[in-house]
């Protein structure tokens, strides 16, 4: 609050005061008070008026400065009403009360929406839990009665299961940090589990799998890593090329600090103009539009979960030639 602005605000008072002075001078002059007395009286009155105004300005300025400093320090600025000092000034007190009211209704709204979000998340979790039962029994029925039709059903059922898992991981994104368990994990087992999950789709699509020596243990959350790998393998199946025999090769390279896991396919690839955006939520790109089944969620979740787990995920591609997804997993000494 600058002084100039303050004076501008008070311009009406000043004007009224000027007019009062003018009338006072005229009146004093009319009743024959001497010029020097008039000057003295006017000077004293003006001095007092200016002094009061200055005091007033100073006080308000101080309060506002304090308030600004407090709000600057606050992370959640909407809480200012809760911690500001109760002013003694009756005008400010009214503002204070109004602010309090506004704040309270805001806090209620926030609490309400947080509660709703939590309820929704719990609902999704229990829904996922429920829907996994019929998914399991469908899988069992089909496996106990294997023929060409049930094989197709198993393949579709696996897709349903993946969408359900995506929903679960998405719902948990905000609270992921309290849902993982880092333990010694066999990379080989993880990869083979993912292949096994997609066995039917891979065989039906005549996709060749080449796995090179993955005999290495890493420290990470097995379930998350499998989910991440699963998204990548599903993408490789979805975006396979129709011209050459599709191959997915999985291999690792190791250095002192990291294990790098590579998943390479010879599918349709990703345009170089789009490659930087594939981890964005909802990004489907040219391939996604050509292939209506794309949701733009899979890789987004991969990136989020990798960030959370301290893994690095990178993607490299050449259109209609290949796509390589690289996941860098730190060896356990380096886990943050």
């Amino acid at each position: 609050m600058s002084l100039v602005k303050y004076i501008k605000d008070k311009i009406l008072y000043i004007l009224v005061y000027e007019i009062y002075c003018l009338f006072m001078v005229l009146y004093l002059d009319a009743i024959n008070v001497g010029t020097s007395e008039i000057i003295l009286i006017t000077a004293i009155t003006t001095f007092i008026a200016v002094f009061i105004m200055f005091l007033n300005y100073n006080k308000k300025n101080r309060i506002i400065k304090e308030l600004k400093q407090t709000i600057d320090k606050l992370d959640e600025k909407y809480l200012i009403g809760e911690i500001m000092k109760k002013p003694s000034n009756c005008e400010l007190l009214e503002y204070y009360k109004i602010l309090k009211l506004a704040n309270k209704s805001m806090l209620d709204k926030i609490a309400q929406s947080q509660r709703k979000q939590k309820e929704y998340k719990e609902y999704i979790e229990s829904w996922v839990h429920e829907i996994k039962l019929p998914i399991t029994s469908i899988d069992l029925y089909c496996n106990n009665n294997r023929n060409n039709i049930t094989r197709k059903i198993i393949e579709e059922n696996a897709k349903i299961n993946n969408y359900v898992e995506q929903a679960l991981f998405y719902a948990r994104l905000d609270s992921v940090s309290n849902d993982y368990m880092i333990k010694k994990t066999s990379l080989n087992e993880c990869v083979n589990n993912v292949i096994s999950k997609n066995k039917n789709a891979l065989i039906q699509n005549k996709i060749k799998i080449e796995i090179e020596d993955l005999d290495i243990k890493v420290y990470t959350d097995e379930k998350w890593l499998e989910f991440i790998l699963n998204q990548i393998v599903i993408n490789s199946i979805k975006y396979k090329s129709n011209s050459n025999g599709p191959i997915i090769s999985i291999y690792q390279m190791e250095n002192k600090e990291n294990v790098c896991l590579y998943i390479k396919d010879n599918g349709i690839g990703i345009k170089s103009s789009e490659i930087n955006r594939v981890f964005e939520k909802g990004f489907t790109g040219t391939n996604g539009r050509r292939n209506i089944k794309s949701t733009g969620i899979g890789l987004f979740l991969c990136k989020k979960l990798c960030d959370e787990l301290g893994l690095v995920i990178q993607i490299e591609s050449s259109e209609s030639e290949y796509t390589i997804v690289k996941i860098i997993i730190p060896k356990y000494e380096y886990i943050r």
């Binding site: 996922v128 839990h129 429920e130 996994k132 039962l133 019929p134 998914i135 399991t136 029994s137 899988d139 069992l140 029925y141 496996n143 106990n144 294997r146 094989r151 059922n157 299961n161 679960l168 849902d179 993982y180 368990m181 083979n192 589990n193 292949i195 096994s196 999950k197 066995k199 891979l202 065989i203 005549k206 060749k208 799998i209 080449e210 796995i211 959350d221 379930k223």
Partner: protein, 223 residues
């Protein structure tokens, strides 16, 4: 033969799981009433328990800890709850393994097999598989007929093993391919043909002729 007891309240899953395990060569008992589950499990003389966590009366953790107080019978938790705390809980309370629904069937069977052989260590695991006079030796991956012996590659061995195990029926090619995938041998249809040819060659070198018959459009059958 090992006996497995299933504690699962979803009827469809329970019945189909029973069929699956019976087809895999286990004796299976199921629990249908969920009062005194611990008693029923302990009295059943089973070698392994498949235990669901969400049950009508008491939950699986409770049952598990009750059993652990008196018995070391292996327990596998099978559940659709899948956060890490549940899993940790299950292991802490004395479960031997924790498998999420929907389970991957080959993985479920492999884990059951592992735990059983780890716990009982009875050399019930077969070393030799016989079909007529033909013997497959699992330890050194060979096939022998009378005096002669022949080494097989892992893929060839598994194919022959599967055919012998299913010698009572015509085995569709896709069944063999899927079985191989379940054993981490990712072969395709062409590779299967190549391997069958190689197996036939090797068999003829040890004087076994025309063992594997091709049923056009259907698959293979041992004669």
């Amino acid at each position: 033969m090992y006996k497995i007891i299933i504690v699962e309240d979803d009827i469809q899953i329970r019945e189909e799981l029973k069929i699956l395990l019976e087809n895999s060569g286990y004796i299976v008992e199921v629990i249908k009433e969920f009062n005194d589950v611990e008693e029923k499990i302990l009295n059943s003389n089973s070698n392994l328990v498949l235990l669901d966590i969400n049950l009508p009366d008491k939950d699986g953790y409770h049952i598990c800890s009750k059993i652990r107080a008196v018995s070391k019978i292996p327990i596998i938790f099978v559940t659709s709850r899948n956060n890490s705390m549940d899993e940790l809980n299950g292991i802490m309370i004395g479960g031997d393994d924790y498998i999420e629904k929907p389970y991957n069937i080959p993985i479920l069977l492999a884990r059951i097999k592992n735990i059983l052989s780890r716990t009982y260590q009875k050399e019930e695991d077969e070393i030799n598989v016989k079909y007529k006079d033909i013997v497959l030796n699992i330890l050194d991956s060979t096939v022998s007929y009378k005096e002669s012996k022949m080494e097989l590659s892992r893929t060839e061995f598994k194919i022959l093993y599967y055919l012998i195990k299913n010698s009572n029926r015509i085995v569709p090619r896709i069944d063999i391919v899927e079985y191989m995938w379940d054993n981490q041998l990712y072969i395709d249809d062409n590779t299967l043909s190549v391997n069958i040819t190689r197996i036939r060659e090797k068999l003829s070198q040890i004087h076994v002729k025309d063992l594997i018959e091709t049923k056009r459009g259907q698959g293979y059958k041992l004669v």
